[in-house]
Each structure stands twice: as C-alpha cells, then as structure tokens.
Symmetry: D2
Subunit: 211 residues, 4 copies
C-alpha cells in the first residue's frame, strides 16, 4: 500500500471493523473508501445495485468508475465508514418493512381477505414498493428460496439495534421486528428467504396466507 493506492471495501462488515480497516490503510498513506452495496440477486444481474460510498470526496472520485461498474446509483454517504452505516440504516428499514408486511398479510388473511386482493391494494397505494411486489409474488408462489435469508436479516437487525443502543436512539418497532426474525429462525426458517418470517406469524395464528 502506498499513496497511489485506494482500498475499496465492498463487503459488509461492522462499523467497528470498518473503522479499524480505515486506520490501518491510512497509516500506510493509502486511501480508503468503504462501498458496500444494497440490493440482492435481481439488481445485481441488472446492474442496479446501490453503491453506498463513504470516504473523502477526492478519494471517491478516484475510484468512481469502478464503483459505477458495480452498481447504479453511487450514493455518497459521507466519510469513510458512512457507507457501512448507511447499509445498516437501509437494512433496518428493510427488516422492519418485511416484518410489517408479514404481520399485515397474516392479519388480512385472518379477516378473510384474499392474498391477490391484498397485493393489488398494496401495489396501488402509498405503501407500494419493489420489496412488497417481489415478496408478495414469492409468497403467492410458496417460493421461499433465499435471496436474502432470515438469518442475515436477523443479524442486520441485531447490529442496527446494538448501534442504536450505543447512540441513544430508541427503536421499539425495530426491536419487535428483531424478535420476530429471532422466532422465525428458532422455528427452523433461518436459511429460507427473509419472507419466511411470515411463517412465524402463520404458525401462531394457525393459518396459511394465500390458501
């Protein structure tokens, strides 16, 4: 490593791990950019992963062509380490939304609503999202093959909750989502897609959404 080198860290590690890596790299006069990506299989194939770049502005400039080859858009999140923090932010929101969708679908099914009708209403309104479209279709198909498995989403909710506890941010809903993913994992669904958090709620309610 020397002053002509920029180290790009694109794997997702902890905030502490990123800080340590930054320090090590900079001690050798090299530049450090953390650039985890957000998105899973579909976006990766389409080149539409979001790159979460953290680092000094000129250091990100230096590697921007590489980052743009990885995904689009490249979002500048702040200093080195802020890419990793942004990843926690968005995965916290992802986990909360998946948990909320699972609760809502179980609620609706118990009220006698058809899955197709629920999906149609969701997709027509303010709550429409690529997540609910994809997971709604998977659930309708009974397809829980892991794009992003329960156990990884669970892990990210734990990291985010810990970081929030360190920072004085109360997160009651995220804490509840975390416990639901914990339950889904404990009941044997840890390696299935995150949408399988639904199976925990179905098991308690004694019903299956979409049947």
């Amino acid at each position: 490593l020397d002053g002509d080198t920029t180290v790009v860290q694109s794997s997702t590690v902890s905030v502490e791990g990123t800080a340590a890596a930054t320090e090590t790299v900079r001690a050798q006069n090299a530049a450090f950019v953390d650039a985890p990506v957000s998105g899973t299989v579909g976006p990766a194939e389409d080149g539409t992963l979001t790159v979460l770049a953290g680092g000094k502005s000129e250091e990100i400039d230096a590697v921007e062509p590489i980052l743009e080859a990885v995904g689009d858009p490249v979002v500048r999140c702040g200093e080195a380490g802020h890419g990793t923090r942004m990843k926690l932010f968005v995965n916290l929101l992802l986990g909360d939304m998946m948990g909320a969708f699972a609760e809502a679908l179980t609620f609706g099914a118990a009220q006698g609503l058809e899955l197709d009708a629920m999906r149609q209403v969701v997709e027509a309104g303010a709550v429409d999202s690529p997540l609910f479209r994809a997971k709604g279709e998977n659930i309708a198909d009974g397809d829980f093959a892991p794009r992003f498995p329960v156990d990884l989403q669970f892990k990210d909710l734990r990291y985010a909750n810990e970081a929030a506890n360190d920072a004085g941010v109360t997160l009651p809903q995220t804490a509840a989502a975390r416990e639901s993913f914990s339950a889904a994992s404990a009941m044997g669904h840890g390696e299935e897609d995150m949408a399988a958090v639904l199976k925990y709620f179905e098991s308690v309610a004694g019903l299956t959404v979409g049947e």
Copy 2:
C-alpha cells in the same frame, strides 16, 4: 330503500358498524356495498384513490360506474364488510411503515448520515415507496401540515390491533408502532401529519433529522 336501491358506504367506519349497516339495508331488500377509499389528498385530486369494494359481485357491478368515478383502481375485496377490513389492513401497513421510517431516519441521523443521502438510498432500492418519497420530502421541508394526522393513524392502528386480538393474530411490531403514535400524540403532535411521529423519536434521541 327497496330492491332497486344499492347503498354505498364510502366513509370509514368500524367492522361492526359496517356489519350492522349491511343487515339493516338488506332487511329492506336493498343492496349494500361498502367502499371506503385508500389514499389522501394527492390521489384524491388525481383521481387515483383506491376504492376498496365489498359486496355481492352483481351488486358491485351495479354501482361500478359510480365507484370508478371516485377512484382507480376499484379492488373487489370480497363480501360486504371486506372493503372495511381491507382498509384496516392497508392502514396497519401504512402506520407500521411510517413508524419504521421514523425510527430508521432517527437512527441514521444519529450515525451522522445526511437526510438527503438517506432519501436517495431509500428511493433507489427495494424499500422505495410513494409514502417514503412524500414523507421524506415533507420532513426535509419541515412541513408537517396534516394530510393524514397522527391521531387518525393512531386510531386505525388501535382498531387493527383490536381486530387482530379478536382474531388470534399476534402483531408485536404493530403494537410497538401503536405505542409510538400514542407517544407522539401525548407529546402534542396528534393533529400534525402522521410523519410527525418522527418528533417523538427525535425528542428521545435529542436530535433533529435533516439539521
């Protein structure tokens, strides 16, 4: 009321109220369709409210032109009363998402992330939704004028939670969201837009998102 009449109930009332109205109307040989709408000011102006229609198929047929004048799409939710149930379903999801967004933004701000960057990442990914776009912009503008106020969202979360309790569906995350809206209301934000649930989290964390 007689056999040539169809009563269309488009206001949002309780599931029990709708059941009582259905019975009363049918006792006089008239037809009953419940058709609450989902969506607020923007969609109403654009004619893109979602109409949640419940009733016998031929009875909905009879009033479909009227419903189509109110909004688009008209989603058939099942029997009379299922429009009302669908409204609870979607507003439960709406409240959970708003609460989750508020937690995530407060978390991100405490991590040193800029609101603009967080919004950009949200809008580029699986969690993108009209809700987060609209509320993200409102929060950036400090605009909490009520489209759908905290107290109405709080009320819907209470109704949904009660209905879930009656139906044997456990909803820990929704219950947590409900308590957050309760807190926001207690702290004086009940008449502001539902996005003001954020102010409860900001108050605890001692920060303001976007500043």
Copy 3:
C-alpha cells in the same frame, strides 16, 4: 333506590360501565361505591383478597363492615370509579410480570439452567413475589389448571392498553405482553392458567421449562 341505599359494585366492569352505573344510581339519590377485588382462589379462601374501594369517603364508611367481610385490606382508591381503575392498574402489572417471568424462564432453560435453581434465586432476591412462588410451583408441577386464565389476563391487558391509549400513556412493554398473551390464546391455551403464556415461548424456542 333511595337516599338510604348504597350500591356496591364488586364485579369487574369497564371504567365506562362503572361511570354509567354511578350516574344512574346517584340520579336516584342513592350512594355508589365500586369495590372490585384483587386476588384469586387462594386469597379468597383465606379472606385476604384486596378490596379496591372507590367512592365518597362517607359512603365508603357506611359499607366498610361489608367490605371488610369480603377482604383485607380495604384500600381507598379515590372517587367512585377509581376502584375499577386500580383493578386495571394492578392487573396490568400482573400480566406484565407473568409475561416477564415466562420470558425469563424460557431464556434460563435455553441457557441450561434448572427450574429449581431459577426459582431458588428468584425467591431469594428483590424479584421475589407471591406470584412467582405460586406460578413457579405450578410450572414445576406441570399444573396449568386455571386460577386466572390466559384469556382473562389477555382481556385485562387489552382494557388497560386501551385506557392508556386514551390517556396518553405509552406502554411498550405492556403492549408486548398483550401480544404474547394473544399468541398463547391463539395457540390454544386461552382457558388454561395465565402461567400457560409460557407455552407460547416454549413453542417458539423448542424446549420445555423444567424438563
């Protein structure tokens, strides 16, 4: 009813029901005292039920001998209706404690701790309580015969949560307990003793406390 009569309401009804009864009785110049009791089978047999008396001081005086025959102590809770409110207060605490005990025991069992040792530690410390002694023994015996069933505790948590929502008091832990009792009821344990909320946690964790 006339000015020489005092109506004593000792059943547990809602706060609203008590208010209506008070008004009706007073309209006829009779006195009204609400006096629900706290405690179940054991205390009832021992004469150690707690009487939660609400009413004007002189009106409670007039019926105190009767109340003292029902239980001991007779606690003066305030105006008419405050006996009922006190009952909600103490049953909220009861439900939260039972839920917490169930979580703690499941946690301990998963950590490899014996039920006997856990009970011994609880009974030696600050958390010792008649509730944990009685329920700890019942759980050790596999005895879930209903002293106070899951469904009644669940109902009281719902009432208390609703009253708190009306009053601007946020109750995240109580809301979580409520959802756990909901789950236990949904899984078929509604008519068993409130200690059977444990079975919900055991079911998720895949273990049985005390085995």
Copy 4:
C-alpha cells in the same frame, strides 16, 4: 496456579469471558468456580446477597465457606459459567419488572390514582416484591440516587437479549424494556437509579407520579 488452587470469579463478566477464564484456569490444573452475586447495597450490608455458584460440585464444596461469607443463600447453578448465566436470568427479570412497574405507575397516575394507594395495593397482593417496596418508597421520596443505575440495568438487558438471540429464545417484552431503558439513558438519566426509567414514561405522558 496448580491443582490445589480454586479460582473464584465473583465479578460479573460476559458468558464468553467466563468460558475463556474457565479454560485458562483448568489448563493449569486449577479449579474454577464462577460466583457472581445478586443483590445491591441493602443485601450486601445485611449479608443476604445471593451467591450464584457455577462449577463442579466438589470444587464448589472446597470454597463453600468463602462463598457463605459473601452471601446467603449460595445457590448451585450448574457447571462453571452457569453462575454468570443465572445472573443474566435474574437481571433480565429485574429489568422487566422495573420497566413494568414504571409503566403501571404512569398509567395509574394518569387515571387519577394516588401513589400511596397504588403502593398499598401492590404490597397487599400477588405482585408484592422487595423490588417494588424499595423502588416505590424511593419514587415517593423523589430519591433516584443510584443503587443500581439505569445504564447498568440497560447493559444487562442488552447482554441478555443478545444471549437470547443467540439461543433462539424470542423475548418481545424484554426487548421493549431494553428500549425503554435506552430512552431513559438517552434522556439523561443513565447514572440515576434504575427506578429513573420512570422519568421516560413521565416525560412522554406529561405528568409526575406522586405529585
């Protein structure tokens, strides 16, 4: 260290730390007993701390006189490391109970109940506990001098929640309590006694219990 030595670890460290210490000590043929204590200032002065002993039976025998000098009772919790696990178990329950008491008192105060009456009812019933007696008195006195501060209780709830997440035990109520202690700490009460979690609930509700 040699075969005649028994190392007694009485400070509270993590489960992992205890496991590492056990291995190190045993590698030198010495014996290891973990023996954290449960209880705070009062019990320490009275000699009634509970000693939570983990280790091989004969190894605990060898140091029992020492443990009995520290506290009474000495509870045998299982193998080395189980003393530490038992400490997490009982402090989880302690935190949940304190959080529940704070919610209940805030609820009661909002219902117009006097603190004295609430304490009297608690102390007469199944929920009576040394914890509620001591903290009830402290709250009545406005005395939040730290016996066991908010931040330490918060830390223990985090450890317990993490251990539960590792073990597949869902803990929604404990997770909610953890977030309440987080909020109390964030609002500036971290160094006050754990009873100051009450101040978070009071702040949201806009009232002060006991006034």
